[in-house]
Amino acid sequence: MIALTDPEGTPGPVPAIETRHLAKRYPGDIQAVGALDLSIPTGSTYALLGPNGAGKTTTISMLTTLAVPTSGSALINGIDVVQAEAQVRQQIGVTFQEMVLDDALTGRQVLDYHGRLYGLPASERTARIDELLELMELTEAAERRCRDYSGGMKRRLELARALVTVPQVLFLDEPTLGLDPQGRAMVWDYIQVLKKRTGMTVLITTHYLDEAQQLADLVGIMDRGRLVAEGAPASLVDELGADTIRVAGTGPVDALVNRFSDLPFVQSISRVDDGLLLGVRSSSRHLAEVVTLVTGEGFVIEDVSVAKPDLGAVFFKYTGRQMKDEVQA
């Protein structure tokens, strides 16, 4: 069932998730996802990071057989999500962006019915559910109806539900959406523990930069339906340089780009909406020099800011926009 070589014939392990030119167009000519190429190794945690509307949820919907791609293909453990949807469904666990719990049921019942749907025998269900309740620290609340659960408890219960059937690939769509910082930190901890214990492949979508940085081995930055950058969070951030200096204003940006590309202390240059984003070895040492050079080229500075780079700066570098700009969109 699981191919040992990929269709190109190159030997090697089959990625847990693989997409080729995966695209989804909705009626009204809305391109939600366009030509997405992903290759996510088995056992890794991959975060799809991007603002709302970037196409993350549509991607998950296609990978979990909820939506049919308009073109391209997607494989889970080498199995095509369109051709063999039933087999794919056997191998995956999913938590959705919105909380989908039947809140008239107790926590234990929610997990039990989920196990029944997948045909797990009663003895196996009981043992597994006890174990998961314990892991998610829900044992004491197990016999309470989940309408009385807090937001964080509901999320943990959904996480437990996705795990009842021991999926090989786990999809978590915005797993901490709507939680307070403490709740988010707890969910992160559970995901980390799970990863250690099970070694499963996890695909997380998030628009929280710190979440991607904390949890993921690999981050794919999505913007407007496309993957704009990909890599380990640390290396993506390192590419920017030790510090970033952002210069906003009006003037000849092209001339500035040329001017800065020759300077040894500049590690990266990107054009952004209203100016430039520079990665430099040390902002404290070079800030004055940068300002002098910029003004010297006839650029009128409105704002200068200095920061330690993070994934937000990476997003800014590749899209020229701040991630939070789009959250309202």
Binding site: T65, L66, D102, A104, Y113, L117, Y118, G119, P121, V166
Partner: protein, 267 residues
């Protein structure tokens, strides 16, 4: 937590039973729903039955002297329809809230979701039917002394409830709006009761109403139950009641199955 679970296939029946089980557990655990479902038909029998009985002087429109017995099958039909509408509402709610995504990403046949839903509606209709019969007998209706007749009656009710439950599920699959669902249902609801032989015999109806009653499955359920569960006389042959009711169930399930396997499947 070691990873060696065989995610087995529950199979169509197994999965349908799981979904049915969940609905029934929720139903039996919800005191208000249980209470409402028992009280509503009792009120119908008690209030409407007693009112009409006094109006008719105890004489049923079919000439027998038992009006309560005459109207019981109609109340059973009405309750089954109410149950089907409720089943559709649950489905609509689960759809709108996204709860059904849990089913849609699971390796289960779409048809089992339909059968589980329709099955729980039928079970509730049975439960109500028994309550109604019990109240009816307390108020003077005469039960058939042959238990075989009861079985045929339950077969008729199963077919009728399956048919209406499927219809309600189809309507609930086609709209995302609870108000629109109710509007559609109300449109169905009234003629189904009044354009039938539930409250008056067909012989008394003008031709156009009689024609309407003859295309209404309620007529066949009511007539069949009068003949089998109770001691009334029917206006239609029993075999015809069975054929029409079962055909209604099969046609309803078939339509709903098509909607479930194509419509709700994927976007």
């Amino acid at each position: 937590m070691r990873m060696s679970v065989s995610v087995g296939r529950g199979g169509m029946i197994g999965v349908s039973l799981s979904i049915w089980h969940k609905h029934m557990r929720k139903f039996l655990g919800n005191g208000e729903e249980l209470f409402g479902m028992m009280i509503q038909p009792i009120l119908w029998v008690a209030l409407f039955g007693i009112g009409m009985k006094s109006l008719m002087g105890g004489v049923a429109p079919d000439g027998s002297d038992n009006y309560i017995g005459f109207m019981l099958p109609g109340i059973i039909a009405l309750s089954a329809m109410g149950g089907a509408i409720g089943g559709g509402m649950v489905w609509l709610d689960e759809r709108v809230r996204g709860i059904i995504k849990e089913y849609l990403v699971a390796p289960i046949p779409r048809l089992s979701i339909l059968l589980g839903n329709a099955g729980s509606t039928v079970s509730k209709a049975m439960f109500q039917g028994i309550v109604i019969l019990f109240v009816g007998v307390m108020m003077g209706a005469d039960l058939n002394s042959e238990p075989v007749g009861w079985l045929v009656g339950f077969l008729l009710l199963t077919g009728y409830a399956l048919g209406f439950s499927s219809l309600a599920l189809v309507i609930a699959s086609k709209t995302d709006d609870l108000m629109a669902y109710h509007a559609m249902i109300m449109l169905l609801n009234l003629p189904v009761l009044f354009l039938s032989n539930a409250l008056y015999p067909m012989a008394l109806l003008p031709g156009w109403m009689k024609a309407g009653a003859l295309v209404n499955p309620t007529t066949y359920l009511v007539d069949g139950i009068r003949q089998t569960v109770l001691t009334g006389t029917g206006e239609l042959p029993l075999w015809l009641c069975l054929v029409v009711t079962i055909t209604f169930a099969v046609a309803g399930l078939f339509t709903a199955a098509r909607v479930f396997t194509t419509g709700t499947a994927r976007s």
